[in-house]
């Protein structure tokens, strides 16, 4: 009887290890794909086959062909080049946005969680107000006030998105603030800033990193959404959202004009979400076991 138990445990341990190996492989694949995407976007200017802004009305609205794999738009600009250039704007704006809200939100959350008291309640009420607004509507209003431009769209979305990270970080801080090792750090005469950044922050980066990675896709869609509405990137700058907006009247006559940036958004967002999911599996093994995990 004991032997069977031992055997069962061994098998369990082995499958667990296999599972872990699989997750690591998945992580590396998705990471490699995302890095590839980032590199393509970063060096788009060097990689593009045609000038994405050069107009040539003689070849306007040509369907995909050998010379133009994704066709041309109504000004005769090469869609492939524009999608690659647009990737630069969309992906890096989304990364900038997520970077800004993660940093700012985490700092606010750390401060509130550690400090507590009246300031904490006040800032949390403010963040409640932000969370109570329907996000996109508020972003449209802010972007409308600030005027067009991709940076203004980033600012608008940052305004409404930081409270999520502030809440997350604050909750995490509260969970570990009363651990004996924080008391020990106080007893060793460390200042509050040192305790927060050396003892608390490294212990809460996991969940924050996971949320941030999962948020990249969402933010990309919202940025593209603002651009689609004409509140983000201004033409002629190539951006996936505004490119889709450009092509929406030609969905029946020239579907490639809208499909090319649409698929680009779809693939990129999915890739970032898959990466986020895998990062969560790696960093937070507790949620891994649940059989019917809901994918975000």
């Amino acid at each position: 009887m004991e032997l069977t138990t031992v055997k069962a445990t061994t098998i369990k341990i082995r499958t667990h290890k296999k599972q872990q190996d699989r997750i690591m492989i998945k992580l590396f694949i998705f990471l490699a794909l995302v890095i590839l995407l980032l590199l393509i976007a970063a060096f788009a200017a060097q990689l593009v086959p045609y000038d994405p802004y050069a107009q040539d009305l003689t070849i306007a609205l040509k369907p995909p062909s050998q010379a133009h794999p994704l066709g041309t738009d109504r000004y005769g600009r090469d869609m492939l080049s524009r999608v690659m250039m647009g990737g630069q704007t969309t992906i890096y704006s989304a990364l900038l946005l997520v970077g800004v809200i993660t940093t700012f939100g985490t700092l606010v959350g750390l401060f509130c969680g550690y400090k507590g008291g009246k300031i904490d309640s006040f800032i949390m009420r403010v963040s409640d107000i932000f969370l109570a607004f329907p996000g996109m509507v508020f972003a449209i209003a802010v972007a409308g006030v600030l005027g067009g431009g991709i940076i203004n769209a980033v600012v608008a979305l940052a305004c409404i998105s930081w409270p999520k990270f502030a809440r997350l970080a604050r909750g995490q801080v509260l969970a570990i603030k009363n651990m004996p090792y924080i008391s020990a750090a106080k007893l060793s005469g460390s200042r509050a800033t040192k305790i927060v950044f050396k003892h608390i922050l490294p212990n809460i980066t996991g969940p924050i990193l996971v949320t941030a990675t999962l948020d990249i896709g969402t933010m990309m869609m919202e940025l593209a959404g603002l651009s689609f509405l004409g509140l983000g990137a201004m033409p002629p700058i190539a951006e996936w959202g505004s490119m889709m907006s450009d092509g929406r009247s030609m969905l029946q006559t020239a579907p490639w004009v809208i499909l090319a940036p649409g698929c680009a958004i779809f693939i990129t967002v999915m890739l970032f979400n898959l990466l986020g999911d895998t990062v969560r599996d790696v960093l937070d093994p507790k949620t891994k076991k649940r059989p019917n995990r809901r994918r975000k």
């Binding site: 004996p180 490294p202 212990n203």
Partner: protein, 251 residues
């Protein structure tokens, strides 16, 4: 005799939903220079709460705390950091008292560095104190989850005595150690007491150990001190019924 620590009418209540638990109720005592004061009592009687209030990790509801004749009941910021140069604590749960992401050695060095010691000097100092507590240098490069409970407890003692405070609060500091290591630690604590005039508040379950190291002992029940005196007297001739029960249950 000069007193290192004096506590007057300390009180602390905790809220558990609707009911209040008076964890510490009007406790006063003194610790003289170079004295080891024992504190015994059943689980949940408020020993750790006293330790936390004395170290200012919890604020008392009422009462005063004096360290070397200076009131520290309400100090904060820089003044509190200087208090921690004179007072250290060994935590009841040694593994939790080390940051899981920081190596033991760095945890020990932290207070030395905060006092302005150079990195290299602090490193050798940490090794030295680990060795005093019976751990070799290699433990400095281990994470808390890579050592046993007893080893972690010794590292935590090393951390507390490394800055040579005048008062060390030991909250069940030797509970996870086997008898031989315990004897070694007790010997070291006694030596530090004699050489540096260190004083201890020694919270403990083991009456034999109290008899061995403490000059005076207080018996605590439900947040109050019911009896105090010389350990031999208390153990041989307990006056309170509660103390008798406590002694009977152990021997």
């Amino acid at each position: 005799m000069k007193s290192v620590l004096e506590v007057r009418h300390l009180k602390k209540a905790y809220q558990h939903g609707k009911e209040t638990v008076q964890a510490v109720d009007d406790v006063s005592f003194q610790i003289h220079t170079g004295e080891c004061l024992g504190l015994v009592g059943e689980s949940g009687c408020g020993k750790s709460t006293i330790a936390k209030m004395v170290t200012r990790l919890e604020s008392p509801d009422a009462g005063e705390i004096f360290l070397n004749d200076r009131e520290i009941t309400r100090v904060s910021g820089k003044a509190l950091r200087t208090v921690y140069q004179q007072m250290q604590m060994v935590f009841q749960m040694p593994v939790d008292s080390f940051n899981p992401r920081i190596k033991l050695g760095e945890g020990i060095r932290e207070s030395l560095i905060n006092q302005g010691m150079g990195r290299r000097e602090a490193k050798t100092k940490a090794w030295e104190y680990l060795e005093i507590c019976g751990l070799d240098k290699t433990f400095a490069d281990r994470y808390p989850h890579q050592v046993s409970g007893g080893e972690c407890q010794r590292a935590s003692i090393a951390r507390a005595i490394a800055i040579k405070p005048c008062l060390v609060i030991c909250d069940e500091a030797t509970s996870a150690l086997d008898v031989t290591v315990q004897a070694q630690i007790i010997k070291m604590l006694k030596r530090l007491k004699k050489e540096l005039g260190m004083s201890y508040l020694f919270i403990c379950h083991d009456l034999a150990l109290v008899q061995e190291i403490c000059d005076r002992v207080m018996v605590m029940q439900n947040g109050t001190i019911v009896e105090q005196g010389i350990p031999d007297d208390i153990i041989m001739r307990p006056r309170e019924a509660y103390t008798k029960k406590l002694i009977d249950s152990i021997f």
